[in-house]
Symmetry: C2
């Protein structure tokens, strides 16, 4: 797909030129992948405001780079960032914009100390903002990642039985994802049972499932580099009244959040659509995290949907909507879907719900 | 194990005091884990030069933090680093040393701009250097990680048959690790067959194994947070003369590297012990990476054993020794073990070989 990456680089170049920089040094791994297709733990891209880009990597990735990025000039060096900074200076590209959100203070100091090196200015989140709006190729990869996730969840569900541990179930579910076609789990699966459900990011451990548990499973498959992210809470045995009550409340808040997440919506308003329902029921203090986030080449990316955040949702932006209620010592509920915000459905009422990519039922499953 | 972490914090505090800083802001995830036991994607530690430390995390991890780190003061905040920086200033701790090798330019600028915030100076790799030398608890976790790796490799080996793909074998091997007790693979398994073997960090793909292949497998199990790392190259069918030749050369160089890796050895000399043999046989240009690296809470950590590096190996430092030869378009060989440098065996000749934790045979396996 070299054309896709070349087109993305052109869009980034317009932003670099608009900033007045001579070139950008792209060092964030997902940004390098987005702009070049190169998957590597050690690669960087020097992208001039105009003209061809230069990819740098070390000898371990040199052959993969020349195979996957035939349209880019290649520099093979043990120290990729100084190599590209020196090249920028040698070619007279002028000021180089760097990714201050990724580059460490230490690496920046090394570049700034290069003799005859270029002047450095922060680039800002130019590439992250381009990445926020997905093209249809990306949306189909994400759709596939979500379909694998839902299918794996269904396949693994009979594994939720009394006596099985959180950790065992996490392994079972991750294996189902791979069997169905995931390249890997998108992140470490969360399985939080009984009182552990009060810990939003609980690490699955040796606790065996028991009748009377609410069990929260937060999982996702990675496919073609794109990350699914879905959470469901299920009940093992008939739920108690308090469990049913918080489940219904979270489900209602989640629906409200999904319906509010339309093109043109302010992210604070989307967060409030869900949060206000939870707060009105007296559980405001039991929902301590944001409502959602963008997903793509990273499992958490722009935009952030939360209280005190700014921004507006726009067409072709996939986001999660994931309210929860966590009762310390007792348990918790979280329901999370990925949807793609679509312009053509904005404000269309019930029929105007954004596209939900994660399709597992949101009814309380009683196992 | 709160005592272990308290003892580690005391050692770090001595270094912070020696630097003349009032406190350190520890933000590197493995460093936070090392000093507190806290496993979290969002936690930081404010460690004064003297007196108790303060752990900050967000609400998702608050319950886990109070459970796992009962001996630390806890701050729950959405913005953990500014919260700790303000706290340091409010308590009059003086200059705060930060981890310039981890903190981004952007986050540093936010801290530096805090009104009434503390003065910031780089801490250096103080905690990484403490982490380099392992205590016996750490060595037993790493030993177990390596034992799981070797056992999984043996279990998966019959899966190397003509027609099976690299990707399928990687999954098979990673599943064997989990079945044997790994918490996760330590990193994405590399399986590079036939001509792909010329790419040191090849991503396993759809290429089916075929008779006549050399197949390089670079894998490791994670156990208790510690990362194994082992590479073996095997032959599918009787190897050709050129394959046997580069295998024997890499095996000889690897033995030489292992024998050189004793307490007191200079890392450049250890690298040269292996590299010179490969270069003398005319393959210097086909071994483009360093000889090895430390392992522990990260799969790559201090020290680095390579050409142009400085430093001396010391007691209780686990390192990899992993020379390779990569022939573009044809294939490659790499052999990698983890050993623990031990003071009491330094210079003791053949009987003085350092402890090898990865025990799979280094004879060429012909399948």
């Amino acid at each position: 797909m070299p054309q896709i990456h070349a087109a993305r680089r052109e869009r980034a170049q317009a932003e670099i030129a608009a900033l007045g920089a001579g070139a950008a040094l792209i060092t964030s791994r997902p940004n390098v992948r987005y702009l070049t297709g190169m998957v590597s733990s050690n690669a960087a891209l020097l992208l001039p405001a105009a003209g061809p880009g230069v990819l740098a990597t070390d000898s371990r990735y040199a052959e993969a780079a020349s195979r996957d990025c035939p349209d880019l000039e290649l520099v093979v060096d043990r120290f990729i960032e100084p190599a590209l900074a020196r090249l920028a200076a040698a070619r007279g590209l002028g000021t180089v914009a760097f990714e201050a959100q990724e580059m460490t203070v230490e690496r920046h100091a090394q570049l700034a100390a290069l003799e005859g090196g270029p002047a450095l200015v922060p680039l800002g989140r130019v590439v992250e903002e381009l990445r926020m709006v997905k093209d249809e190729t990306e949306i189909s990869l994400l759709t596939r990642a979500c379909a694998i996730t839902a299918e794996a969840f269904s396949a693994a569900l009979p594994g939720i039985v009394p006596g099985r541990t959180e950790r065992e179930f996490a392994v079972l579910l991750e294996r189902a994802m791979i069997d169905i076609g995931a390249e890997a789990p998108a992140f470490d699966t969360i399985v939080a049972s009984g009182p552990n459900g009060a810990i939003p990011h609980h690490t699955p451990g040796g606790r065996p499932f028991a009748a009377g548990d609410l069990i929260t499973v937060d999982c996702g498959a990675r496919y073609g580099g794109y990350h699914a992210d879905m959470t469901r809470t299920v009940a093992l045995g008939e739920p108690a009244a308090w469990q049913r009550e918080i489940y219904d409340l979270v489900a209602k808040a989640q629906r409200a959040g999904v319906e509010a997440a339309t093109a043109g919506a302010d992210v604070t308003a989307v967060d409030a659509a869900a949060r206000d329902l939870i707060a009105a029921a007296g559980h405001g203090g039991h929902f301590g995290h944001g409502l959602g986030h963008g997903v793509g080449l990273e499992v958490h990316e722009a935009p952030t949907i939360g209280y005190g955040r700014t921004g507006t949702l726009i067409d072709r932006v996939p986001v999660t909507v994931e309210p929860g209620i966590y009762l310390p010592g007792r348990g918790g509920v979280r329901i999370e879907d990925i949807l793609v915000v679509r312009a053509h459905r904005a404000g269309a009422g019930a029929a105007g719900s954004p596209d939900l990519l994660t399709t597992t039922t949101r009814e309380l499953l009683v196992l």
